[in-house]
Symmetry: C2
Subunit: 525 residues, 2 copies
């Protein structure tokens, strides 16, 4: 998920379940730490063929850093060799006369070359500039050791001397990053595949997930850093195929279940520091993904105790979603709701949300049976109604597509989610996806999140070759464009796209992009 400032806030009354919160607290992971060093010094060069117009180019070996003497206005960029999430420290020593004034430094952290090359001061996007990773700091006593208290998400670090005095310069030593993650690489099965591109996509997916796994499954370690339900669901799926930190999934489920509103609805995302707070943002699809995530967790672990404890919360999300159905059995599309589905200004959310509900109902029914709950039969009846309503009112036989909203919009998102929800029988479902790929409606996927669902839908309907092709094109495209970890946003046809007004603020290691490892390993691609 991404920053949600576009979603309106609802004043919600939170009903805390302290037992659930305690359970979540007990599951808080100890983070694994590893000290890493930069690998080289780089310069950023303008290159119109490179992503955002900038390319990192080797300037010197990292062993030359110690001997570099920087005066006022001089800078150096260290390349840490790969995406890193952690805490940075270094020593700084004066060269020349004893320092007769403090050292004023600016540090700029970047996941991508553009963040080193384009000044943050020009940023004027609509989410907070406070996400841009920079520090201005003073060192009063030299030589000195600087240990920055904040965590950064970066590959490149620019050390810039804003001022010293005419009497001295400085050199930097022992530049390090202490990385943190709750993902244990030792648990990941080696992945051997004949196709080197799939191997590389898998490797970078795993790195992406690793760097997003912290105290919770974070959205993006650079920006947002919170726990979002839609992303949790995908991260958990990737986790079952790789790191198997299932306790972290359990922890996140208990966190969401710990702070529902007074109707029992779970929030789209949580703040966990300084204390657990449910954000005042509720999304139709994300609330339902609580139920889906619990389903997947139970499938992966067989943990019946957790299922029994959290089933009421899971069932409640379905009940609340069903309350949104109109007389026809279709999700009401008015101004009182928000559903995410994808970042697209013009995307109508009605039909894909109907599909998400159907998708969830099928999994809720499975859980009801597992838990021995009598509501299973009722849920089956509602599922049948919702599916029939979708066929009756959202299916356009003339077009061969599902349509959404008053204007009967034909979007990729609608077909993809209807395919995932398996509303049509298998053969017709496959034809739907074939027709989608052939027709290429204008309202297309914009995010890795939506591309993930496209690829999975193709796999669900049996179009394995097309699924692999799309994955290679999209995630392989990110690799070609220099991804160390997979990005929050990538539109091959519009590489400068940012829903926030600047690529500087985009997150380049983002949970919802980590799914190829799940798709590859789970579906045996």
């Amino acid at each position: 998920m991404s920053d949600q400032a576009k979603f309106q806030s609802a004043q919600a009354t939170i009903v805390r379940n302290e037992r659930f919160i305690r359970t979540a607290e007990q599951l808080k992971p100890a983070l694994l730490r590893e000290e890493v060093e930069p690998t080289r010094l780089v310069q950023m060069k303008a290159d119109s063929s490179a992503m955002h117009g900038w390319r990192a180019s080797r300037e010197a070996g990292i062993d030359t850093l110690d001997s570099r003497e920087l005066g006022k206005g001089q800078s150096v960029i260290a390349d840490f060799g790969d995406h890193r999430v952690g805490y940075v420290s270094f020593e700084v020593r004066p060269v020349g006369s004893p320092p007769d004034a403090p050292l004023k430094l600016k540090l700029t952290f970047g996941e991508m070359p553009v963040e080193m090359a384009v000044p943050f001061s020009g940023y004027d996007g609509w989410i907070s500039s406070s996400w841009l990773q920079e520090e201005i700091l003073f060192v009063d006593v030299l030589p000195g050791r600087v240990s920055l208290p904040r965590r950064y998400s970066f590959r490149y670090l620019k050390l810039e001397v804003l001022d010293t005095s005419p009497k001295y310069r400085v050199s930097f030593f022992n530049l390090r990053c202490m990385t943190v993650t709750s993902a244990d690489r030792a648990n990941v099965a080696p992945f051997d595949h004949a196709d080197p591109l799939l191997r590389e996509i898998d490797r970078v997916s795993v790195r992406t997930l690793e760097d997003c796994m912290q105290d919770v499954y974070e959205d993006g370690p650079k920006r947002d850093r919170r726990l979002w339900l839609g992303d949790l669901r995908l991260q958990a799926q990737a986790n079952y195929a790789t790191f198997r930190n299932d306790a972290l999934v359990k922890r996140c489920l208990y966190l969401f279940a710990g702070v529902p509103d007074d109707r029992g609805r779970v929030s789209a995302n949580l703040f966990v520091e300084p204390q657990l707070i449910a954000d005042d943002t509720y999304l139709f699809d994300y609330s339902l993904f609580f139920t889906v995530t619990l389903h997947d967790y139970y499938e992966a672990t067989g943990d019946g105790n957790t299922l029994r404890e959290l089933w009421p919360t899971a069932r409640r999300q379905v009940e609340l979603a069903l309350e949104r159905l109109d007389d026809r059995g279709i999700v009401k599309d008015d101004r009182t709701w928000w559903s995410f589905i994808d970042w697209h200004e013009s995307l109508n959310k009605q039909a894909p949300s109907q599909a998400v509900l159907i998708y969830t109902l099928k999994r809720a029914i499975h859980l009801a049976k597992a838990v021995g709950c009598s509501s299973g039969a009722e849920l089956e009846r509602r599922l049948a109604e919702a599916e029939q309503a979708a066929l009756d009112y959202l299916w356009s036989p003339e077009q061969g597509f599902f349509v959404s909203g008053e204007e009967r919009q034909v979007s990729w998102a609608t077909q993809i989610w209807m395919a995932l929800a398996e509303v049509l029988p298998q053969q017709r479902n496959q034809e739907l996806m074939k027709r989608l790929l052939a027709a290429q409606p204008e309202i297309a996927p914009t995010t890795p999140y939506m591309y993930h669902h496209l690829v999975e839908a193709l796999l669900v309907v049996g179009l394995k070759k097309e699924a692999v092709d799309w994955m290679k094109t999209y995630w392989g495209g990110m690799l070609k464009d220099g991804a160390d970890t997979f990005w929050e946003l990538y539109d091959p046809n519009n590489p400068e796209f940012s829903p926030y007004g600047s690529p500087l603020i985009n997150s380049y290691c983002h949970a919802w992009s980590c799914t190829p490892t799940y798709l590859i390993r789970h579906y045996g691609l």
Copy 2:
């Protein structure tokens, strides 16, 4: 003293005296701490009659701070009621939705209104901008408590919200400063005087000294922060009349004596963090002031042990100065030396330095006698020669002034130091000062440091009324112009003067300005 970047550096070999350094270390004071709160909120208003064109104006009571909610681009200025040196802390709490982005704050500390009103970004002076007291910081977790690790010297603090997010604003609580000083107010005798202006000048002098007394006698707590010999001499004099932290004077003398160069010369200033380092700046007059400061310390304390230990260092400064005398017995004025005397571009330093040498010789002879050293007779002979040389070669009978340098410059500084050195007999000495005040040569005092010597010279020659008048005009002028503590720089005829190119970087609590309390109390004004 002030920043010395204008003085050339000499490569010096330091010969450490570890015993002296240990003695100094053992005398390191425990700092007294006091928590102070701001007293009101202010705005800075443009006012051409105010110092630097800005005046602080009450905006609201400090009790309204808690309820103020600041969003992006908003700020508030807290007035701490008086000059403060210490550590600042506050709490910051979010208002609105849970904070979905870090808080980015800018803090600006100012001793004077101009520092709140004129952006530091425009500073382009010739000493380091790193002295400008500002911080940009991020608060990732809200509510949060911020305890800034650096010490600031200020009265005003601007809290400026650079960014939050559209979803929240912030309020500030429990804004505090933990002040630090090694000066104990309980030791200062109450000062009762019929003249309210003298009472106020005394009070502000004492405050100035108090805020400069830290681990050492600092130059200025905002800028420089080091131990300078010329300032130490004056602070010690003021200290004997007030706080009586004589151990701190002793500590500073041992610090200087601990790191002479291989010729035995003491540096003009010392760095004490992270370890004791002699700066590579040597000044003719400042080195001699080691001897003068030891003399004054012995006079004030009768501490014969310290005198005996440090006498060789004190004597050595005089010997080295005598080596600079030419065949005539006059201080050589060539390109190989630096003497401070005063901040004045055109001031020739020869004659005032000759006077400083004579002034010092008289005190060295006193010390030689006290310590029972046989060199006293030799010093008396050299004194007689130096005085006679001054009369023979620097005295201009036609003008009735001492002249300096090849161009026979007549300056205030020369006459003042000759008067202090008492080269002329008492009556002629008084006439010299009267003539000076009447003639007003063009090369005039520019700093409080030189004005101090002017006032003391008037007292030495018996012109008490003139001394008081000058003190009231000069230090009283600073008070009228809004001084909470006395300033590094003040030229009533040129209030914007800064030797650094901007009043933003000037220090407004400066050691060499604290002397009126000494002059008033010592001379019983």
